[in-house]
């Protein structure tokens, strides 16, 4: 057993335990409970002591009993050095230490005497810590968005750290911001516009893209290679260089402030990626199937509708979902083209809320939830399709 390995083991394990406790403490603070100290010194040293005990006990008796005892020891210690905290806080500490001692129960003398065990240990803990930290950092803004929308202005200013949800006030009171956002700020209308624009973009893009992708994938014609490389190049041109000419042209044609104008632009900007994704899939469909179709006397349209489309439904759905996502989240063009509230999309409406006179932040966040939730639900539900869409189309972002 190497001394270096034991030292790294103690140090890293205790640090990991401490960082888990820190995250828990931050979460507790965000429930409005007063907690101003991480108690780094005491917890860190006690953590080291417990790790050493864990090592010394080894496998002398039942592992489960060992880890429960160690976890109990740790949470009792924490209970005594922190004052006036609710019982669920200590219970959380207990669960965390249980998880922690469960993780380190395999690190015994044998393990530590092996080569590279300190590095292995380090990376194991880094992974665990990374998972916790990444989830926290990613989910926290979403959590904050949701909870802020359930609060009132006064409560938010009184204690900006209080992110607890008060269910006792009853549902109408809880969802008050949403009622106001839909009633006074007209979000129902914006949501309808967003839905129409996004679905419209999906349908029109597919109508344009499927035949074009089929032609690029299957048919021989002059300029085919040129076309398939230009698709990618065109795709890399960003919206910001199109915005001024499109603005000037659309103003003079009177297409600004119209859903049609938005639909045209969204379709054109998503079309290259849709063609790019679809033609890749069409190429993977065996040619023999089409030849059979030709022998049966089908024309090109028949082949597309009766053979290609049914076979490529998964690809089409992922393109559709991806295009829907782009159109739903789009902001720049809706900012430029829409300045009358009766044509706003959700994104534009939220920006309008923020820029306009002092809109209480709970309304702003309620609006944000309204625009975020549908897309997240769609994402979680159709994850498989959307992920393949994202991977294929992720040259854009």
């Amino acid at each position: 057993m190497k001394i270096k390995n034991i030292l790294t083991y103690c140090f890293i394990s205790s640090l990991f335990l401490f960082s888990l406790i820190c995250i828990w403490k931050i979460l507790v603070t965000l429930q409005g409970i007063e907690l101003i100290n991480f108690n780094f010194n005491k917890l860190f040293i006690f953590g080291i002591i417990l790790c050493v005990i864990n090592l010394l006990i080894g496998k002398k008796f039942n592992l489960n009993i060992k880890l429960i005892i160690l976890a109990l020891l740790f949470s009792t210690f924490d209970y005594f050095i922190s004052i006036n905290l609710p019982i669920w806080y200590s219970f959380g500490i207990f669960l965390i230490s249980l998880f922690f001692f469960n993780t380190i129960k395999n690190y015994d003398k044998n393990f530590l005497s092996k080569n590279h065990s300190s590095q292995k240990l380090f990376f194991n803990f880094l992974t665990l810590f990374g998972i916790t930290l990444f989830s926290f950092v990613i989910l926290f803004p979403f959590y904050m968005m949701l909870v802020t929308s359930f609060k009132t202005q006064a409560l938010l200013l009184l204690n900006p750290l209080d992110f607890s949800i008060n269910f006792a006030q009853g549902l109408p009171e809880l969802f008050k911001s949403y009622f106001i956002v839909f009633k006074d700020y007209n979000f129902g209308r914006y949501m309808l516009t967003s839905t129409i624009v996004s679905l419209g973009t999906v349908i029109i893009t597919l109508i344009f893209a499927i035949p074009a992708a089929y032609a690029v994938a299957r048919l021989n014609f002059f300029g085919k290679n040129f076309l398939s490389t230009s698709i990618l190049i065109i795709y890399l041109f960003p919206a910001i260089v199109l915005v001024i000419p499109l603005y000037t042209i659309f103003s003079q044609l009177g297409l600004r402030n119209s859903i049609e104008g938005l639909l045209i632009v969204y379709t054109a900007t998503t079309l290259p990626v849709a063609i790019y994704m679809l033609q890749g899939y069409f190429k993977s469909i065996p040619k023999e199937l089409e030849e059979a179709g030709i022998i049966d006397g089908q024309n090109w349209l028949g082949i597309i509708f009766k053979i290609i489309l049914p076979l490529s439904l998964p690809a089409i759905s992922s393109v559709a979902l991806y295009v829907f996502m782009i159109a739903w989240n789009e902001f720049l063009f809706s900012l430029m083209f829409l300045d009358r509230p009766n044509t706003f999309t959700l994104s534009r409406a939220i920006q309008f809320l923020n820029v306009g006179a002092e809109t209480p932040r709970q309304y702003l966040m309620a609006g944000s939830v309204v625009v975020t939730l549908p897309i997240l639900i769609i994402f979680v539900y159709f994850e498989k399709y959307l992920v393949s869409g994202l991977t294929a189309g992720s040259v854009k972002g």
Partner: protein
């Protein structure tokens, strides 16, 4: 026979791609080229409104004479900058009235009044008064009179279609003292945003590539920032980072990590003291970059994870047999395997971050040292209202973009050769 088939095939192909090509051409390629045209012109936002001749119709009864009625047209040129030539006026009246006297510009014919009003200079205003009398002693209905709206037409020069060009926009762009600063900010933002996203993408992909409870859930969660709408996320971050009532500042103050609130999005520089040296960090820009990394690392993650899962397990088993440690395994097996993906990812993300507009616009609006080229396009074109300048900045972006694309396709070609 076969050549006939080939001909049919060709014709079908053109037919199938034509709609897409036309749409993409008119909405993407045509605007890119018209950018060049506009950037050589002196056009402002207010010039985009086409000048219109306008008329407001007022109907007034004449005292003591119910048989007569006075109509006043308040005519004006809506444009403050351009003249309208050859203005024509037309209005319709009820059957039972006719004008008493008309000037030589106008003609009345079977209840239609037509006037040739000549040329109107900019800001032009004129009142046209005509008195009508009834022809059959019936009362003149004011309501009916008002229900007809006058129609006006005229010709005006469209500033976008003239052949006057100027180099002023480009001169202004390049001579601007802030131009170097603008470029350096853009590159700083692009470079660190891209590198950061890729580094965190690798970390996250390495994590998720291991087996643990809730792994598929974790993968979805990691993609949330990329999938959610930018507007909602930017405003949430803005609240989170707010100096007075933001969660982050309050949390740090609560745990006595900082003494007073830091305005993370509103402060241009912060001085850091590291080992006795003072560093000036661009604070707002750094915050914006962190947001950028937070939002786009999922994409790098997705790409790299897909590649990692394709790395043959035997390689790692062989390394285990050789007694390699985890760092060696990462450096000698994993990294070479994902290097190709990383370089492509770097180029693509670089191009996109270079053109990123929404994120900075929503977080800081380009204030406190976060003005990048795309933000400048918006500010020149729409905040200041100088469309020509905005276009000139767009052209600068396009030039950089073409250079990047050239490098990217070289790289892609080289990669294709290697395989």
């Amino acid at each position: 026979m076969s050549s006939k088939l080939a001909k049919i095939e060709k014709r079908t192909a053109y037919l199938l791609i034509l709609p897409s090509v036309l749409l993409v051409f008119s909405i993407i390629l045509f605007p890119i080229f018209s950018n060049i045209w506009i950037s050589f012109k002196n056009v402002e936002l207010k010039d985009l409104r086409i000048p219109e001749p306008r008329a407001k119709k007022l109907v007034k009864s004449i005292k003591d004479n119910p048989n007569q009625i006075k109509i006043i047209y308040k005519l004006r040129n809506s444009s403050l900058t351009q003249e309208i030539t050859n203005v024509k006026f037309k209005d319709k009246y009820p059957d039972n009235i006719e004008p008493i006297s008309l000037n030589n510009k106008c003609q009345f014919k079977s209840n239609l009044l037509k006037c040739e009003l000549g040329n109107w200079p900019k800001k032009y205003r004129e009142n046209l008064e005509i008195i009508f009398q009834n022809t059959n002693n019936q009362e003149i209905s004011k309501k009916e009179l008002k229900s007809y709206k006058p129609k006006l037409s005229g010709k005006s020069q469209n500033i976008l279609l003239t052949y006057e060009f100027t180099l002023n926009n480009f001169k202004k762009v390049i001579k601007d003292k802030a131009f170097i600063d603008l470029l350096s900010t853009t590159f700083y933002y692009t470079f660190f945003g891209t590198i950061g996203a890729i580094v965190f993408g690798i970390l996250a992909a390495q994590m998720v590539n291991q087996k643990f409870f809730g792994r598929t859930f974790m993968r979805s969660v990691l993609l949330f920032p990329y999938v959610a709408p930018v507007v909602a996320l930017a405003y949430t971050w803005e609240l989170l980072l707010d100096p007075t009532s933001g969660t982050l500042n309050n949390l740090l103050i609560n745990y006595q990590i900082i003494d007073g609130p830091i305005n993370l999005l509103g402060q241009k520089y912060v001085t850091l003291n590291i080992l006795g040296f003072d560093f000036k960090l661009r604070l707002a820009l750094t915050t914006v970059i962190i947001f950028e990394i937070w939002r786009y690392f999922p994409l790098a993650f997705l790409f790299i994870l897909a590649r990692l899962q394709a790395v043959p397990k035997e390689l790692y088993e062989a390394a285990d047999v050789d007694g390699a440690n985890p760092i060696q395994k990462f450096l000698n097996i994993t990294l070479p395997q994902i290097l190709a993906v990383i370089s492509i990812l770097f180029m693509i993300r670089f191009i996109w971050n270079f053109n990123k507009f929404e994120d900075i616009f929503l977080l800081t609006g380009g204030a406190s040292g976060t003005r990048t080229l795309p933000i400048n396009v918006y500010q020149q074109g729409f905040s200041i209202g100088d469309i020509g300048m905005g276009s000139a900045v767009s052209i600068v972006i396009v030039v950089f973009l073409l250079i990047f694309m050239f490098i990217y396709f070289k790289l892609l070609g080289k990669r294709a050769d290697e395989n």
